[in-house]
């Protein structure tokens, strides 16, 4: 039960990766640090400037979108058409840059998340409401994305661009705009994650590594380009992880990686992912 709720959080993190990968085939390894920098910024806005909570949330969503756009425009777009390693390394280095900036500004300080609930629900089974919010947000985001990709024009454009961006450009789709939009959406998700993750894990620098460490296995288990896959993967990893914890607390860290290695050997494209056939 607890595992399922934690899984909602993992799914929420993984969805941010999926949106970008689905449209531009770039794995954004800076995503975890994006979450960290946004959550520190949120704390800074609320604690140091005394802004009301709702305004803080609005600003942070805007900042998330802006950060996503800036990353795409400044770092990713010059590299389009380069080998994938260059892109992968670029996003990783961006993560390092954010990590360095966060530690320069805030040091290694740990803060409690701004909206951390100080009560729990339930009598026999204690449930942290933050987990429930995260779970709800994951479901909401999932539904939103599902409709976005299925029924809207930009969603259709994203799917077309993903399958072949030369063809889609010649059909009159603005590929660059589609990339920007997907990075902006993912940036907004990073902001949502920043709010919810800071409730559960509080605001600290290692959150970025944890997000990466949970996000990647979830992503690969469900399939890189599948939105239901991210949701399923998150819940599955959450449940398996909490089962493994009963076996011994030290296994919690390792189980997601073991599952990831296993799935890479058996079914590299993931459970719900699209299998790409290599042509010469």
């Amino acid at each position: 039960m607890q595992g399922l709720l934690v899984g909602g959080l993992y799914a929420l993190i993984a969805l941010g990766f999926t949106v970008i990968f689905k449209s531009s085939r770039v794995l954004n390894l800076a995503y975890g640090e994006q979450i960290v920098i946004l959550s520190y910024f949120l704390h800074w806005l609320l604690a140091s400037h005394g802004l009301p909570g709702w305004l803080g949330i609005l600003i942070i969503l805007g900042c998330g979108a802006g950060l996503g756009y800036a990353v795409e425009r400044l770092a990713i777009r010059p590299l389009l058409g380069q080998p994938f390693l260059a892109l992968l390394m670029m996003t990783m280095m961006l993560g390092f840059l954010f990590k360095g900036l966060v530690s320069l500004k805030w040091g290694g300080e740990t803060y409690a998340g701004p909206f951390t609930p100080d009560y729990t629900w339930g009598e026999s089974i204690r449930v942290n409401p933050a987990h429930v919010y995260a779970f709800g947000a994951a479901i909401a985001v999932f539904v939103l994305l599902f409709f976005l990709f299925r029924y809207t024009k930009i969603g259709l454009a994203m799917r077309v661009v993903a399958s072949d961006h030369t063809v889609s450009q010649s059909l009159g789709i603005r590929v660059r705009q589609v990339y920007s939009v997907s990075w902006i959406i993912s940036g907004v998700f990073a902001a949502v994650c920043a709010i919810l993750v800071s409730m559960v894990w509080s605001i600290r620098p290692v959150t970025g590594d944890i997000a990466l460490g949970k996000g990647l296995p979830v992503l690969l288990l469900g399939g890189m380009d599948s939105i239901p896959g991210a949701l399923f993967g998150g819940l599955a990893i959450g449940v398996i992880e909490s089962l493994a914890t009963q076996w011994g607390p030290e296994y919690q860290e390792m189980i997601p990686w073991a599952i990831m290695l296993l799935i890479l050997v058996i079914r590299p494209w993931g459970i719900f992912g699209e299998r790409r056939i290599e042509r010469i």
């Binding site: 390693l85 280095m93 840059l97 320069l104 290695l261 890479l264």
Partner: protein, 353 residues
């Protein structure tokens, strides 16, 4: 690039020679002598830096064989260094083996672990292989630190490595640098020559197009695994060197994901697929690291006392990230390519070609 004026290759041996003319031999000897005596007059801080650099050079050469030659990207190379370092420490302490005996054990053990994590390479490649090496990195750290194995490796505690004793006395920093230099020279010669064997040519064929290579009769599975074995052997030897020369006790924290990325950064900055490039990249990144931690950070810490505690850590990250990003965007072919261009320009100077 062409030979000096008036020198012609008249036999295949001459064509294949790495060091071709007498001037080059003399320069090489002078350069080695310079490096060997470097430790005698540099301050201790820089001698230590040189030793660390040597370890990174060896590990980066391994990654260069694996990634630059064979095209199997790895983001978990530090984990194999950890295997080598722990092999050196455990075999040296528990079983009392001398250092020269633990060297091959460290290399082979790291190579074997590399084989285990390299087997997915048969089915997956590129992007997914990177993911599996990241998983390898985190699992190795977990195995050494948190798993039941940790009773053996000391878990979170650091593991004291026995000193190298020659003629009844422990070797000092200068001796350690000579040891490092010897290992680095052997590693460079090996790496340079592996490139020119039939296995090296198979690696390059697999990197350029693995389907085509398979059609031409290259055994893909064996070639990829061989690349993993050799690359991880180098990493294991680097770990051995690290345990014996750079630090006195090994700790899992020294071989984190950050170190893996640093190694990959070195290969990228130097230029994929060239031995000299890997060495150059290692020197550049380590130099940037050293200058940031020892000179720039204290200066900033003095001017802005409120930043003094964090500036070193954060500035190292920022400088490293900036250097790698700069190279990815501005010169994706790396330092070595720039160097070649410069050499060509110098040689042809008044003319453009």
């Amino acid at each position: 690039m062409g030979l000096p004026c008036g020198t012609y290759n008249t036999s295949p041996q001459e064509d294949m020679a790495i060091v071709r003319t007498r001037t080059q031999w003399v320069l090489l000897a002078l350069g080695l002598a310079f490096l060997a005596t470097l430790a005698l007059y540099l301050p201790p801080l820089w001698v230590l830096w040189l030793i660390t650099l040597g370890c990174y050079v060896v590990a980066a050469l391994g990654l260069h064989i694996l990634t630059g030659l064979c095209g199997q990207f790895s983001m978990g190379h530090a984990a194999f260094m950890a295997v080598g370092a722990y092999a050196a420490a455990i075999f040296g302490k528990e079983y009392g083996l001398p250092a020269w005996a633990t060297l091959p054990i460290a290399g082979v053990l790291a190579g074997l672990v590399g084989l285990v994590f390299g087997t997915p390479a048969l089915r997956i490649r590129g992007f997914y292989l990177v993911m599996s090496t990241i998983a390898a990195q985190f699992m190795m750290v977990w195995l050494l630190r948190d798993s039941p194995l940790s009773e053996w490796t000391g878990g979170y505690e650091s593991y004291r490595v026995p000193d190298i004793v020659i003629l009844g006395s422990r070797i000092g920093d200068v001796g350690k640098w000579w040891l490092t230099l010897a290992v680095v020279v052997v590693a460079v010669v090996l790496a340079k020559n592996i490139q020119r064997t039939s296995a090296g040519r198979r690696f390059i064929a697999v990197r350029d197009n693995d389907l085509a290579a398979e059609v031409m009769g290259v055994n893909l599975f064996r070639t990829k695994l061989l690349a993993f074995f050799i690359g991880c052997c180098f990493a294991g030897v680097a770990g051995w060197l690290w345990a014996h020369a750079a630090v006195r006790s090994v700790l899992v924290g020294q071989f984190q994901f950050d170190t893996s990325l640093k190694l990959l950064g070195m290969v990228i900055v130097g230029g994929m697929g060239s031995t000299t490039g890997a060495v150059m990249g290692a020197v550049l990144i380590s130099l940037a690291d050293m200058v940031t931690t020892s000179y720039i950070s204290p200066a900033i810490g003095e001017s802005f006392p409120e930043l003094a505690g964090v500036v070193s850590h954060s500035l190292t990250l920022i400088v490293f990230a900036s250097v790698v990003m700069f190279f990815i965007v501005v010169e994706p072919r790396g330092l070595y390519y720039r160097f070649l261009r410069l050499k060509l320009f110098y040689r042809l100077h008044p003319f453009s070609y």
